[in-house]
């Protein structure tokens, strides 16, 4: 790692806190971003010479605030910028000052910043784009690549999102406990969306979509540091770590999907799993179950099974029942059906799946699972119809390829079942 790489990391880590404080000072996302940008430029100039400050965030807040104030003043044609060397010599004394200013606020600052990006008035794609731009500091180009859209389109999307946020009003009053809880829930959802965006766009262990997953994990750890006693945030962190721990095993060399039961479990990232299991242990002590904790517990049961046949499907099915009670949704029922099929066979699972037809008619996984169950029951013709529907609904090449493989199996089975009859003739 070069020195500049280290500085980049320090800037990225300090960004949420510094941006949050600058947003509070300037009450405008654009001004805060400009001020932070300016502070980063100065950091890149002075840190290699003077070494990094002990508290990068405080340094950036201090410098960013001064340069922002200068900008406002310059616009008012008052004073010139102070000479560079004055700014380069920021001593710890001054960062202590910045510290005192911000120590009491930093939790609400970061939460506000995250919450601004999680504004429920914004569509999910705008929330994700805004968070990646404002909180994570990804470039518009990087975000556009993650979403597979052009840079200009992404620029527009972010501009629109910012305008919406400004129109909705950024909440600057100190939140009470109820506000905090509400903001926390919205932020958790946004982080989950960022992760899912990365997870579903992935077609290999690396690349820009994996970066999105890493970023979501980083944000959920950040949230957990701010709110260390929130079991749902522990659950969220654990869930993301467990899902992401399988990144290296999810695809073959050609980018084709490898199902959970067929994955090489030695490729799962053990440190991530260890951390997630520790999180779940901590969360359970609070005895306040919630959707993220339950989903994490389900993922943990997969992670704990050394071999697929050791998976505790009964426990998984019970957890899905609990999740259905908390958050009834056809998708949760569909997932429960998978557990039922493993425990009780395809017939019982199909009985659970069929009633979901109307609500999940345009859902890839519904048709994929249904096709698979029909196939197991030797109802090939119906299975083929279901798989055809699934292919039409696949959202990426890997999904379509997986279903095509299922159809090929059906063909092969059909041929195999005809062959003996032909031999008789």
């Amino acid at each position: 790692m070069t020195d500049t790489a280290w500085i980049d990391l320090a800037l990225v880590s300090a960004r949420p806190q510094a941006m949050g404080a600058l947003l509070r000072y300037f009450r405008s996302l654009d001004l805060a971003e400009e001020a932070f940008q300016e502070a980063c430029i100065r950091a890149l100039k002075t840190w290699p010479k003077n070494g990094p400050p002990r508290d990068p965030a405080a340094w950036l807040i201090f410098v960013g605030r001064n340069s922002g104030i200068d900008k406002v003043r310059r616009q008012a044609r008052e004073t010139a910028l102070p000479p560079e060397e004055l700014l380069s010599d920021l001593e710890d004394r001054e960062s202590e000052l910045a510290d005192r200013l911000d120590g009491a606020h930093y939790r609400d600052d970061i939460l506000r910043l995250l919450f601004v990006c999680s504004n429920p008035a914004l569509p999910a794609t705008q929330q994700i784009a805004l968070a990646l731009r404002i909180v994570s500091g990804l470039s518009v180009k990087q975000i556009a690549r993650a979403f597979l859209v052009g840079e200009a389109a992404m620029e527009q999307r972010i501009t629109r999102a910012k305008a919406r946020v400004a129109a909705a009003g950024i909440p600057f009053e100190t939140p009470d406990a109820a506000d905090r809880a509400e903001r926390l829930a919205a932020v958790a959802t946004m982080i989950y969306l960022v992760f899912n965006e990365g997870y579903s766009a992935m077609n290999g262990p690396d690349g820009v979509s994996a970066d999105l997953c890493d970023e979501a994990i980083r944000l959920s750890r950040l949230l957990l540091r701010l709110f260390p006693s929130e079991p749902e945030i522990m659950g969220l962190t654990a869930l993301l770590l467990l899902q992401h721990s399988r990144a290296r095993a999810r695809f073959d060399a050609h980018g084709a999907i490898i199902l959970l039961e067929d994955q090489d479990r030695r490729l799962w990232n053990r440190p991530m799993i260890t951390e997630a299991l520790a999180m779940i242990d901590k969360a359970i002590r609070h005895r306040r179950p919630g959707p993220y904790q339950i989903q994490a517990a389900i993922a943990a049961l997969h992670a704990r099974a050394e071999r697929p046949e050791l998976t505790d499907w009964n426990e998984i099915e019970l957890l899905y029942q609990a999740l259905e009670r908390l958050q009834p949704s056809p998708v949760v029922t569909l997932n429960r059906a998978v557990a039922v099929s493993k425990r009780d066979g395809p017939e019982a699972a199909l009985a659970l799946v069929e009633p979901l037809a109307d609500r999940l008619s345009s859902y890839f996984y519904y048709h994929g699972l249904r096709g698979g169950l029909l196939k197991q029951l030797d109802r090939s013709r119906e299975a083929r119809v279901a798989f055809d529907r699934a292919i039409a609904l696949a959202t990426n090449a890997a999904e379509a390829a997986y279903i095509r493989k299922q159809l090929d199996h059906l063909e092969a089975d059909a041929i195999a079942s005809i062959t003996p009859a032909e031999e008789k003739q």
Binding site: A5, A10, S13, L222, R225, P228, M279
Partner: protein, 124 residues
């Protein structure tokens, strides 16, 4: 004399490492450790999970309270530690210097002489 070498750094930064950076740092640190292992000087080496995984037991008003999170909110966090047998503080400092050189994002290393050490039986 036995010394504990305690590694402190900003975990925001260390947890933002890419897998490649992480792997390289671990390789380089292992290379430093090897020399001391071969000399029979290196005791247990431990890396801690992030402070978000920590739980703290406190004593307050005559009862114990369990809190989520680390004991103290600090700018740098305790990330791990080494136990090493050295003839002098200078040698322990040399070991810390080598660790520091192997890890470009190195934070600080606190060197604390031990007053008691029971190796126990634990080996994963």
């Amino acid at each position: 004399m036995l010394y504990a070498v305690l590694c402190y750094n900003n975990e925001d930064v260390t947890s933002a490492w890419s897998q490649e950076e992480e792997d390289k740092v671990m390789r380089d640190l292992t290379a430093v450790q090897r020399k001391y292992v071969e000399a029979g000087k290196l005791g247990p080496v431990a890396r801690l999970l992030p402070t978000t995984a920590a739980t703290t037991l406190r004593h307050s008003r005559g009862e114990t309270v369990v809190m989520d999170g680390p004991f103290a909110e600090t700018k740098e966090q305790l990330l791990g530690f080494y136990l090493i047998d050295c003839v002098s503080l200078d040698e322990a400092l040399d070991f810390a210097r080598e660790l520091s050189a192997a890890n470009p994002a190195a934070g600080s290393y606190e060197i604390r002489p031990l007053s008691l050490f029971k190796p126990g039986e634990l080996a994963p």
